[in-house]
């Protein structure tokens, strides 16, 4: 059953977009909304200062008027403001209003390119968490070298408690099933060794929870096994996940530059290398994976919440809206609820 009845009735997924959030907001956000709204199955709800947004939209020859609407939000959380203000002092800022729309069912999903922390806090406070989950996590596909592997958490939780690793594993498994079509995803815990007693105290407790979870847990894996396909879902804390992701995304560019420099004295070869890297070799495409999806979904929240990169331009905003729509259609929240319910019956994971 799809979560929002309105969507079923008119066939359109309603995506609330924090139009004031992002390095290039509202200009690029409105432009991205126009791109996304060309499709018939989405309605974009631009949340922000209506006066400003109307002027921005007027720049475009946009004919499908019924698929973009404005929702007034008088305040904005700026990048230099404490994100916690979204809860304490600015509950009517654009990202908070958009989050409340998801909670009330006026929107099916939220997209924000503004402060990630403010968006996450809005999601926690105003959309709410699923039963058994205390903090959201970011799940991402490793693409290129490991097309059947996802990692979680990629940065939402710097400090993690053992039970969070279990919810990460559940979220990652749902992602692998829904988006990678893997029937029974293999789950592994990222650690400093394969043995059960390796790593920190939190890691060992997490291992025990995962081992007894009923998930397809294959044990610990080390950093040199991330890309070998041994696991479909790699669970780690947000600090480790975020550092690894950024390192992984940077490899392609550096490998290209290093190789081109080495072959500079052999002119035909350096051109060939550039062509190989830019056209064929997967390393330089790694960073394009998240761009293609327009950012990451916050898993564990009771609604689809997509956090786009702060530097998103119109195409990335459009991609974020599109993938938020696809997540709603794929009923990812319902799937996660079902998986979590199995664990909640025996106590909070």
């Amino acid at each position: 059953m799809i979560r929002n009845k309105n969507m079923v009735q008119n066939g359109r997924v309603k995506v609330a977009v924090d139009a004031m959030g992002g390095d290039y907001a509202p200009e690029e956000v409105v432009k991205g909304a126009v791109l996304a709204a060309q499709k018939d199955d989405v309605e974009v709800l631009l949340v922000g200062s209506t006066n400003i947004l109307e002027k921005e939209l007027a720049k475009y020859k946009f004919t499908n008027g019924s698929s973009i609407r404005f929702v007034e939000a008088s305040e904005v959380i700026k990048e230099d403001e404490p994100p916690i203000d979204v809860i304490r002092h600015k509950p009517n800022c654009s990202v908070a209003v958009a989050a409340k729309m998801v909670k009330s069912g006026e929107a099916d999903a939220l997209v924000s390119a503004g402060s990630s922390a403010a968006a996450a806090l809005s999601a926690i406070q105003f959309v709410g968490m699923l039963d058994g989950v205390c903090r959201p996590a970011i799940v991402g596909s490793l693409g290129s070298f490991a097309p059947n592997t996802v990692m979680v958490d990629l940065g939402a939780n710097a400090d993690c408690k053992p039970h969070q690793f279990l919810t990460f594993a559940i979220a990652g498994s749902v992602y692998a099933k829904k988006f990678l079509n893997i029937t029974n995803p293999k789950v592994a815990l990222l650690n400093t060794g394969n043995e059960e007693n390796k790593g920190s105290e939190i890691g060992r407790e997490a291992y025990s929870l995962l081992k007894n979870s009923g998930l397809n847990f294959v044990g610990n894996i080390e950093g040199n096994e991330i890309l070998n396909g041994k696991a479909n879902v790699i669970v780690c804390g947000g600090l480790v996940g975020n550092v690894l992701l950024k390192f992984y995304e940077s490899i392609g560019g550096y490998a290209r530059e290093w190789t081109v420099q080495k072959l500079k004295k052999y002119p035909p070869l350096d051109i060939l290398v550039k062509l190989l890297f830019d056209g064929l070799f997967p390393a330089t495409k790694i960073s394009g994976e998240s761009e293609k999806r327009g950012g990451g979904i916050l898993w564990g929240v009771d609604g689809v919440v997509k956090i786009a990169h702060g530097a998103s331009r119109a195409p990335q905003i459009a991609n974020a809206i599109e993938s938020a729509k696809e997540a709603v259609k794929a009923e990812v929240i319902e799937s996660l609820k079902l998986e979590l319910a199995k664990f909640n019956q025996g106590g909070k994971p």
């Binding site: 809860i87 903090r135 909070k348």
Partner: protein, 81 residues
């Protein structure tokens, strides 16, 4: 239910700890409440008792008892609608 009991319920729900381990002497660190837990608890208590707790007052809370005492004093002042 007393003010203290209500606040204990709220804090226990947000921090996912057993309410019976929260005493007036418990620090937020002892009950493993992070900064977000504390802010969520503040907001939930503000809504429950229809009061506003200024940041500068909240920053003075050293333990659960300080939090409870502050809210009790505000409620006693008849701020609850």
């Amino acid at each position: 239910m007393t003010v203290e009991e209500q606040i204990r319920e709220i804090v226990a729900r947000i921090t996912h700890v057993d309410k019976n381990i929260i005493t007036r002497e418990s620090t937020f660190k002892e009950i493993k409440a992070d900064s977000l837990d504390i802010v969520q608890a503040l907001v939930a208590v503000e809504e429950a008792f229809e009061i506003e707790i200024p940041d500068e007052e909240a920053q003075k809370f050293q333990n659960f008892g300080d939090f409870v005492s502050y809210v009790e004093s505000r409620v006693a002042q008849g701020e609850k609608v």
